[in-house]
């Protein structure tokens, strides 16, 4: 009993550490922003919340808001030689939502780095995912050492935030063979263009030039999955179908042939692959790998 209590207690503390915003120190500065040798941090840290994120990133803010954006903190660092670095820390409501917005902006062919769960460098920009944080670091006039400088910043920010290496656990349900690296996504809202399909993980595949996509939507409950499927069947003019836990072959007016299944708290399916042994293999594999 006592052991169970301590396990629950430490789990709760760990969760709080991940989800709570970083604190400020005695000078009012966020402790997320590190001290960097040779760099002077600007006095004021800019903070943005959902109502005014637009002021900082304009039209791009709408997409961040669909991923339960909570707060953005921005700090600027300057060096004597006029070089500057800007650190932006976006905090989302959960690690899954942070992964969602990160995955929307990630190029599959980027120069990837092992920072947090994952990061990448691209011409004076270094972005990375770390638990509920999506961190963007950009530079100006840093010269040839730019990549190294940004990596140093990223490592220190990660240390301050507490390193979180994990991607959303549901991604391990997807079969590995043929997976396009770094193209997996989490779609927060309106998956496939339907308002009742949300919180969808997608993984792209390329097998000898044959490109297709698997998707998986965890529901709140089995009833939630049934309701979503019922609405989908109404949309694709199959309202008479009795929704049951099984597979369905759908002729979607906008997406063509989709095979979709409902199993427990999950809806999954496959896009852009006509009926074939390959389709059967991948769907079976996805179903078999779902969390029990």
């Amino acid at each position: 009993m006592e052991r169970r209590f301590y396990m629950l207690f430490f789990t709760a503390v760990a969760l709080l550490c991940v989800l709570l915003p970083p604190e400020a120190n005695a000078q009012g500065k966020s402790t997320s922003f590190p001290m960097m040798n040779g760099w002077k941090q600007s006095e004021a840290i800019q903070t943005y919340s959902p109502p005014n994120l637009y002021d900082y990133i304009n039209g791009a803010s709408d997409l961040y808001l669909t991923y339960d954006f909570q707060e953005l903190q921005v700090a600027e660092y300057n060096r004597a030689d006029k070089a500057s670095v800007i650190v932006e820390i976006y905090r989302h409501g959960s690690p899954t939502n942070a992964f969602g917005i990160y995955s929307q902006e990630r190029m599959a062919n980027a120069d990837f780095l092992e920072i947090g769960a994952q990061g990448y460098y691209e011409d004076k920009n270094l972005n990375f995912l770390n638990g509920p944080y999506y961190v963007k670091i950009s530079s100006s006039k840093t010269g040839a050492d730019d990549r190294e400088i940004l990596v140093q910043f990223a490592k220190k920010v990660t240390a301050n935030l507490g390193e979180h290496k994990a991607f959303p656990s549901l991604l391990v349900s997807f079969p590995e063979e043929g997976k396009v690296k770094n193209a997996d996504k989490f779609i927060g809202k309106n998956f496939l263009g339907y308002s009742y399909f949300h919180s969808a993980f997608t993984v792209d595949y390329n097998l000898s030039g044959q490109k297709f996509q698997l998707f998986l939507m965890p529901g709140d409950s089995a009833d939630d999955c049934r309701n979503r499927l019922q609405r989908y069947f109404q949309q694709v003019k199959r309202p008479s179908d009795q929704v049951a836990e099984k597979r369905y072959e759908i002729s979607d007016p906008y997406h063509g042939s989709i095979e979709i299944f409902w199993k427990g708290k999950y809806i999954g399916g496959i896009l852009n692959l006509s009926p074939s042994p390959l389709r059967e293999k991948y769907l079976s594999s996805l179903e078999a790998r779902l969390p029990k």
Partner: protein, 403 residues
């Protein structure tokens, strides 16, 4: 009627501000091409407007692709009759442009209009550009967009997100755009503005450089008359006028949680003949189909007009509770509470709630009576004294006349 001679109807009648200019030409929409047109076969036809001196003919609503990563939604929009796709290099860090490029592969180049945009680092407070914002940097942005889109040229390249005149006329960016136009990388050049729009639009007119403006314009903007006038001046000089953020948010007023009717909001914009087209940022097929239906018949219905009027009233009634007025009132009146009561009456038509608020406040008998002039200057521009005097009259209305 009460002994004070004030009833609910009298109270309501006496104060609602006029909304004379809210609708451009109520009941006379034929001249604006807003009536549904039908072909001889009976099939609905979509109206088109010309984007100023560019000569590009566009349907009244097109797709702002910014929030969509769904290529089939873009395909459906083009199949449904939309022509222009609007994106930006920053949307999803370029992956939005890449996705659009995939959709456009193999399509005849004259079957779509592609508009994209970029910005350079500026001071977030002043809106002025920083020294690193160079012509070369903007040229690089243009080249990156073309590469992501897989196109030889775009139709409009916008100088993005400007809110001060000096930045609208920033030479390094104008030089980059001019060279891009001469090199055939873009057919036309434009400028976008999300705030302080009239100043930026006037700068675009004065510059004689830009071909198109993309501006925020909606029925909830407090300064929509100024934006409307600026758009008219722009259109008169031949600028194409594209409107964004036509919805003005999700709710008529945040704390009312009454959703904005998207059809009504877009139709309100389209009443204005100088709004050549709207870019709508839909992300579902249902939203798209609704937009397509507006394209077929953009005339406002009576219920839609009533909805918009209610929204505009609320926008002009909403006290943000900054509290700056409190220290200036010699009677220490709880002015934000009184402004809330005023909004309940004239925004929500809920006189009972308003009277409850007024009754709960510890107000002096002679409200405003000792002041010959009001020392308060409201940051929202409310005529505080008039509103206070108006709403405190509710103390004299017997509850049985209200409930």
């Amino acid at each position: 009627m009460s002994e004070k001679g004030i009833g609910r109807r009298d109270f309501m009648k006496s104060s609602v501000a006029g909304l004379g200019s809210f609708f451009l030409l109520p009941g006379k929409t034929d001249g604006l091409g807003l009536r549904a047109q039908e072909s001889k076969s009976g099939e609905k036809k979509i109206i088109h407007r010309t984007l100023g001196k560019t000569g590009i003919k566009l349907p009244p609503i097109n797709m702002g692709v910014m929030n969509s990563d769904n290529p089939n939604l873009v395909r459906a929009a083009l199949s449904g009759g939309m022509v222009m796709l609007d994106t930006a290099q920053t949307y999803q860090r370029g992956t939005n442009e890449t996705m659009i490029g995939e959709v456009l592969k193999g399509r005849p180049r004259d079957s779509f209009v592609l508009a994209t945009k970029a910005r350079l680092p500026n001071d977030q407070k002043t809106g002025l550009y920083l020294p690193e914002s160079t012509e070369e940097a903007f040229t690089k942005k243009i080249d990156t967009s073309l590469k992501s889109l897989g196109l030889d040229y775009v139709d409009i390249y916008y100088h993005h997100n400007v809110w001060v005149r000096d930045s609208a006329l920033y030479e390094p960016i104008m030089n980059a755009l001019l060279k891009a136009k001469k090199a055939g990388k873009t057919r036309f050049v434009g400028i976008t503005t999300h705030r302080n729009e009239p100043e930026v639009i006037q700068a675009a007119i004065d510059s004689k450089f830009y071909d198109v403006i993309l501006t925020t314009y909606n029925f909830k903007q407090k300064h929509y008359p100024e934006v409307r006038s600026a758009m008219a001046r722009a259109a008169e000089t031949g600028l194409g006028v594209v409107v964004m953020k036509a919805m003005g948010g999700r709710y008529l007023q945040e704390d009312s949680k009454e959703p904005i009717d998207p059809s009504a909001a877009m139709k309100w914009v389209l009443q204005d003949p100088n709004a050549h087209t709207i870019i709508a940022g839909f992300t579902t097929f249902d939203q798209m189909n609704l937009d397509l239906s507006v394209m077929e018949n953009p005339a406002l219905t009576k219920p839609e007009k009533a909805h918009l009027q209610r929204g505009a009233l609320m926008a002009g009634l909403y006290c943000q509770g900054c509290g700056q007025c409190l220290a200036r009132c010699s009677q220490n009146l709880p002015i934000p509470d009184l402004m809330r009561a005023y909004m309940y009456v004239y925004g929500y038509r809920n006189v009972v709630a308003a009277q409850d608020v007024v009754a709960s406040l510890d107000l002096p008998l002679n409200v405003c009576g000792d002041c010959s002039s009001c020392p308060i200057t409201c940051v929202n521009g409310f005529r505080v004294r008039d509103r206070v005097r108006n709403v405190v009259r509710l103390r004299n209305v017997p509850p049985e006349f209200i409930a």
